[in-house]
Symmetry: D2
Subunit: 117 residues, 4 copies
Amino acid sequence: MNPDSLKDLIRAAVAFRDERDWAQFHNPKELAISLAVESAELLQLMQWHKGKGLERVIDEKRAHLQDELADVLFSVLLLADELKIDLGAAFLDKLAKTGEKYPVDKSKGSPKKYTEL
Amino acid sequence: MNPDSLKDLIRAAVAFRDERDWAQFHNPKELAISLAVESAELLQLMQWHKGKGLERVIDEKRAHLQDELADVLFSVLLLADELKIDLGAAFLDKLAKTGEKYPVDKSKGSPKKYTEL
Amino acid sequence: MNPDSLKDLIRAAVAFRDERDWAQFHNPKELAISLAVESAELLQLMQWHKGKGLERVIDEKRAHLQDELADVLFSVLLLADELKIDLGAAFLDKLAKTGEKYPVDKSKGSPKKYTEL
Amino acid sequence: MNPDSLKDLIRAAVAFRDERDWAQFHNPKELAISLAVESAELLQLMQWHKGKGLERVIDEKRAHLQDELADVLFSVLLLADELKIDLGAAFLDKLAKTGEKYPVDKSKGSPKKYTEL
């Protein structure tokens, strides 16, 4: 088991699911719901805070933020398995496409959406 | 560059961000917003559909689903970098904790939350 | 105070906020975050369930669902106030626009997005 | 039709749905998905922006923000109908409960969650 290998992490997530016979609940739509729910939990930890107060909250809740991010990754890994997506390759492929939408010379230092560049 | 290595993917995401000078927009809170937004886009592709209709939609929109999942992973990777989280280790650590909340004998075949087991 | 009047409910929400001096945290972006977080909490109550199990969950958690929906409405009302939107009029206006995107003869009985009709 | 009356707006939303025979897609879980998706669309309009840039974006996109908020309200109204919730009464009831969790003397001027007060 190599913790840096996406494929190994997917295998760990799938084994965890199968030990509990949870595949029956885990269709892609339910996993996408889970992803939305876990993402909101991560966001909630920083809700209402800004500036110095936000920095302090991030510092104090680092362990909690880490756990929520791990929960998000759990759903991502199971979705990749369920949809038979080669996650690493899909990521690099999409990064190249996003790079075309946001060419460096146009998007550098701008928070605008590509449709507004 | 090994597409199966989380650390390599994080390096690719960070390089992409830095070429565009986007770190200034990417604090953990904004990245968590991004994660929530991208997750909702993934979910939206399957909205209103169920049963056979859902299966067909998943089949027809596989490339789109893959792109949205890659966008979600992009935010996950940048959050890990921003929060200095060792993502693979954090995942396995959280999986162990979740395993304690959901022991196999109690959670097998059940969709209940651990607080209701 | 008329509980059926949107304007009265907005006044109640604003009074509640001002008693606590919370306007300083409530810019439209934070309120939109809040809306996303509260919506996810509502969704989470029904996560993983379907068919008869879902019906049972909805029955058992009716009071909780009601509270989460009220929390969602709280953010909606404050956003309307913050953005100076006449909520009832905005709703009817948007309903008319959506009606043009989804004409009855094309959209009847279909779960498709208007771009796919 | 009184645009300030929640009950009238619910009737309008239900009529719109029934003309299109959409009740078959609109169980509470799908409507909660819709709420999460629409909330994320509202949030997305303000993504990556802060300070003066955020104020400008809110100004420029006011009509779009208004439409997204109306879409959110559409899901709220249909959920209230579907779950047979008296929305105005539920809101005031929840506001009273939240007031107990956040007493004025403890929560005034604080962005903390009630569990941290």
